[in-house]
Symmetry: C2
Subunit: 303 residues, 2 copies
């Protein structure tokens, strides 16, 4: 196998727990190539990050002066090199707060995550998405909802992260769908918008009864032939509804923007809109890449 040589000016990397995404970039912000793999932080020992990165950069001539800007879990204690958290309230951290990773081949810099002392909370990767949003709207004030395995609700005031809260809703859905007794009743794909709405309403109105409402999906499938598709949508609705019950002061009193554009983000938008929340549209395809572009721009200014 031969790969044509490619000469990026810098490299943007989003290195999460399960996946890694790499963009080969020109100095003026164009994407020359995009690569990804499932060699996420969760599968790697500390000394495996460099070879994995080098594999992903196949065709790029090795260079200790090629900046590789990384955000996400690669900066955690179990990752490549720990990049200490910046504490709220703060602007999304930039290249000036990055940590250099030990790497013989490339100039690797890992952006820090953000921590909150009370209530204790952490993020790694989302702060770079937020930086991307603020690149487009520098004075944004309101609330960002970032759906994912660990959903974040982030309060932004004039471009600064003042507080945030993480919900394990996405991970709970995956565990319940795939590993619990509900796997016998919940389809692995498909959607039923009415069932989702019913779930959201129930989750919002009776969030305390969640562990009971979950089992009722199993019982209704056994007794009332609840379809797998409806059960799947209602499960999602119940969990999102309970999250909306907990975050009500955020979406009721502030401008809200949901980041993503995928199915899950659309579900959050639908649920919020049904509750009368005022949704602010964000026209950003890849906020993480935007945030890494901002970090690179700052690197160029300061070196």
């Amino acid at each position: 196998m031969s790969i044509d040589a490619i000469h990026p000016d810098w490299v943007a990397v989003d290195w999460g727990t399960t996946h890694v995404r790499v963009w080969l970039m020109s100095h003026d912000g164009r994407v020359l190539d995009h690569r990804r793999s499932d060699q996420g932080m969760g599968r790697l020992d500390q000394d495996q990050f460099e070879p994995v990165l080098t594999d992903l950069l196949a065709g790029v001539p090795p260079s200790q002066s090629l900046p590789v800007l990384i955000c996400g879990m690669a900066g955690s204690r179990q990752g490549w090199t720990e990049a200490p958290y910046v504490a709220t309230p703060c602007s999304p951290p930039g290249i000036g707060q990055a940590t250099r990773a030990r790497c013989k081949t490339w100039d690797v810099r890992i952006l820090p995550g953000v921590k909150q002392a009370s209530p204790a909370d952490v993020m790694r990767g989302e702060e770079t998405q937020i930086a991307g949003v603020l690149l487009e709207e520098p004075t944004f004030s309101g609330v960002l909802c970032l759906p994912g395995t660990h959903n974040k609700w982030v309060r932004i005031v004039k471009g600064r992260i003042v507080s945030f809260q993480t919900f394990m809703t996405g991970e709970l859905f995956a565990l319940l769908e795939g590993q619990s007794v509900l796997r016998h009743s919940v389809a692995t794909r498909g959607w039923d918008a009415d069932a989702f709405d019913i779930g959201v309403s129930q989750g919002l109105d009776q969030p305390h009864a969640l562990a009971g409402a979950l089992f009722s999906l199993r019982a209704e499938s056994l007794l009332n032939d609840l379809s797998g598709t409806a059960a799947r949508a209602r499960l999602s609705g119940l969990l999102i509804g309970a999250e909306l019950a907990a975050t009500r002061p955020l979406w009721r009193d502030h401008k809200v923007a949901v980041l993503g554009g995928n199915d899950v983000a659309q579900s959050y938008e639908a649920a919020l809109a049904a509750q009368g929340a005022v949704l602010h549209a964000l026209d950003i395809d890849t906020p993480t890449l935007s945030g890494l572009r901002a970090a690179y721009a700052h690197l160029k200014e300061t070196t």
Copy 2:
């Protein structure tokens, strides 16, 4: 390997999803031998139940007239033979409502589960524990809490099951402890009673914020060195607290008895007592066996 012959008058079996327990019984209710295995319903195809049972009955001369009384998931649609549910309100179903399983070697009868139309709910196995309780206290009125993978709260009026609700609290704990991101922060054993109390209070006061409170265990372990033992007890407390928030009308307004006697049951008792619930003591070691004894007594009366 040779096994001495043993001649029970009947056999009691609790066949759950993950385990099966077998008691070889004399006609006057003494336990001649007790056996168990992990050949639960979840691991077996329909035609495997008979050979597994025969293995467990090693030493018992094959007899088509030996009554084998089974409760639990062996009677589900995925089990040996489906034993249709009895509908609430009802007395715990007895031998008269049992279903005969196809079996060449033994006289196998499977007790039905109980279903509730609205809200939809089901139980299999717990109804036999309840029968065991009512054998001791035939006129019991109040609420039974049966901790387990799928915890049941059962309203009993004068010996009849009038309503019940299932919570997936036990399964949620197992999934979160073993499979979620919290596995990095939660010890696999050990206990911290103060941390449990804090969790219960938080779960009771803010049940809607559960998915957020869960992630805070991870954040506090990263930022504040929350110990694995404390995280484990707080996780349990959060989940049980949320369940107590949902069941408050049951334990506040009625006499409550917690069945079990194991660690989990003691946790429920501690949490309920701290909330001022009046706990009714039940002095029954093996309620399932008591319930199966009652079924056998009735079989003898009617044949």
